[in-house]
């Protein structure tokens, strides 16, 4: 099957004063529809940097990113928001929910960016939050949600725009194992049921059980690519 997302020799160097930090160094990598790819690695190894390049949020220093076979890393800046809107859902390392919006409004924001009608917005946000077990938290502000609830709202928001690819950075950080399993289960449903791709970075040992492939990254280099079964 043709990969949905492909990275070719991706490199990111940060200039830090006189020093150059090689956050990601020559990473090649693919993920196809229906697949969950897990990226593991110690803190500071370049997982977040890699994910933000894959999601067209951060421009690589060199290398290429292809979406369904089309190169997107050479597109001008002004085209990137549209690509992100159309193709990606993001779950960020630290939720990044909008504090001035309720859980439901947070989810609806992703739909508003895509100019979805009010009716459809209401239905879809309710469905998603219900699927995340948050039907009685819809009108809560993030400040009054628990960490696990926030994380689930963030996932509902990432899935709202019906993306082809979900990029999740530590989606279970700061959750207990039961809540963690719940989240992984949601991601698996998303990948398997709809044939979407999931790329997640996680320290969580239980993540391995849900991944189709595991990539280890150390000091910006991918050292091991192993299908688990």
């Amino acid at each position: 099957m043709k990969p949905l997302l492909e990275a070719r020799a991706l490199t990111k160097h940060y200039e830090q004063g006189t020093m150059t930090v090689a956050a990601v160094e020559g990473v090649s990598f693919t993920v196809s529809g229906g697949e969950i790819a897990l990226i593991i690695g110690p803190s500071g190894s370049g997982k977040s940097t890699l994910l933000s390049m894959l999601g067209c949020i951060l421009r690589p220093t060199s290398g290429a990113i292809l979406l369904a076979g089309h190169e997107v890393s050479n597109l001008p800046d002004r085209d990137l928001p549209r690509i992100r809107r159309r193709c990606f859902g993001f779950v960020f390392q630290s939720f990044h929910l909008f504090p001035f919006l309720t859980a439901r409004e947070n989810v609806e924001t992703a739909l508003r960016l895509r100019k979805i009608s009010a009716d459809a917005r209401r239905r879809r946000s309710a469905d998603l939050l219900e699927a995340c077990g948050l039907e009685d938290r819809m009108d809560f502000y993030p400040a009054s949600l628990s960490g696990g609830e926030k994380q689930r709202v963030a996932i509902a928001r990432a899935l709202a725009g019906d993306p082809f690819i979900l990029l999740a950075d530590e989606p279970t950080a700061s959750l207990d194992s039961a809540n963690g399993e719940l989240i992984f289960e949601m991601l698996r449903r998303f990948a398997k049921k709809d044939g979407k791709a999931v790329v997640m970075a996680s320290h969580d040992p239980s993540a391995r059980g849900y991944a189709d492939r595991i990539h280890a990254i150390v000091d910006g280099r991918m050292t091991e690519i192993g299908p688990i079964n």
């Binding site: 977040s48 928001p81 992100r84 809107r85 993001f90 960020f92 990044h96 909008f98 001035f100």
Partner: protein
């Protein structure tokens, strides 16, 4: 995205209220200052605009309506017979003292006009008719003078320059820049009441009504050739000159302009500062929106809409406040000229300055790197 802007604007309620107060205050200041200025200019030109004349013959170098040097009025008679004129009537302007009921004296501006002609006299009456001043010691006083002169009862007797004169009518809307009450009398009575060194009757102006008002410029040019000692002005030119005089020569225009502009700047500054504080406080959320694929236009809209909300609500409260202060100010003799045109115009100016003030925030968000969302808070 306007929805998101409203949520953002109202999220910090205390900040929103403080901003609103600042904008209401400054918009009110700008609005009333401008209305006050326009009101004064309307008063200064009310007689010129409403006298029913197309052309004005004045003494050379006239600067505004109220300060007019008299000239012999025999010219009016020669002009009267010209075919292209409907009317050419002398109007006198002099100052007199009117004795109040308590014995105090009030300076009044006496306008003398021909009661049989529809030029030069009062144009709107609260009671009585312009022709009522004919044949005798009679006068029409503007109703707005009641605040200075006391109750203006029709038929009551007053003393102007020690001469008893009967009040036969009340005009409406006749005011001057000087705020001295206007007293309309017949041209003949005005001549008798005014101490005059030369024995000839003198006019301050000759007001001319043309058969075809479109000819005004052409006729004015012809008259300038004939009446070399006079200045010939179209009504529009005379209005402009009077406005220019009070605005520039007295420094009043600059004073009003400065206050109005300060009001605008304070308002725009308040809005700009609040939106910048809001933007800085929510940079993380803006980065998230960017990462989620919000377009540059979406982000601009969120910021500009906040400016629009602040300006709109601020002006929305300031305008009724200004309208409410119109009546109380009027009883104090101050004219606030607030019309739909002024409201619309100043609203646009307020809005534009608010949008400009939001520019710093727009730049800040444009430069924001969405990749920050993948790093921890």
């Amino acid at each position: 995205m306007i929805w998101l802007a409203t949520r953002l604007a109202f999220h910090n309620r205390a900040r929103f209220i403080v901003t609103l107060l600042g904008v209401v205050f400054s918009a009110y200041l700008t609005l009333t200052e401008t209305a006050l200025y326009i009101g004064m200019m309307e008063n200064a030109t009310s007689i010129i605009r409403h006298a029913g004349a197309d052309l004005w013959v004045a003494s050379k170098g006239v600067q505004n309506f109220d300060f007019a040097k008299p000239f012999p009025d025999d010219r009016a008679k020669t002009l009267q017979s010209r075919a292209e004129f409907l009317w050419a009537k002398p109007i006198s302007l002099s100052w007199g003292f009117l004795k109040l009921r308590d014995g105090a004296q009030e300076l009044v501006e006496i306008i003398g006009y021909d009661p049989r002609a529809p030029v030069g006299g009062p144009w709107e009456m609260a009671s009585g008719a312009p022709a009522d001043v004919a044949g005798g010691d009679r006068m029409i006083v503007d109703e707005s003078a009641a605040q200075r002169l006391g109750e203006l009862r029709l038929g009551s007797s007053w003393e102007v320059n020690d001469r008893p004169i009967k009040l036969v009518g009340l005009s409406r809307g006749a005011r001057t820049f000087t705020t001295a009450p206007i007293v309309f009398t017949s041209y003949d009575l005005a001549q008798e009441m005014t101490p005059n060194i030369s024995r000839r009757a003198t006019a301050a102006y000759i007001a001319i009504k043309l058969r075809n008002p479109k000819d005004a410029e052409r006729v004015a040019k012809a008259l300038r050739g004939e009446l070399k000692e006079n200045e010939i002005l179209t009504t529009a030119a005379f209005v402009d000159r009077t406005v220019l005089y009070w605005t520039v020569q007295t420094g009043m225009g600059a004073a009003f302009c400065l206050t109005a502009i300060l009001g605008l700047i304070v308002g725009a500054g308040t809005i700009g500062q609040t939106i910048y504080a809001n933007t800085m406080e929510h940079l993380g959320e803006f980065a998230t929106l960017k990462a989620m694929g919000a377009s540059a236009r979406d982000l601009d809209t969120i910021i500009l809409a906040q400016a629009g909300i602040d300006a709109g609500l601020g002006f929305g409260f300031a305008a009724p406040l200004a309208l409410l202060s119109k009546a109380p100010l009027e009883t104090m003799g101050v004219t606030l000229a607030i019309g739909p045109l002024l409201l619309a115009g100043l609203f646009c100016v307020t809005l534009v300055s608010a949008l400009v003030a939001a520019y710093v925030s727009i730049r800040r968000v444009q430069k924001l790197d969405p990749a920050t969302v993948f790093r921890s808070q």
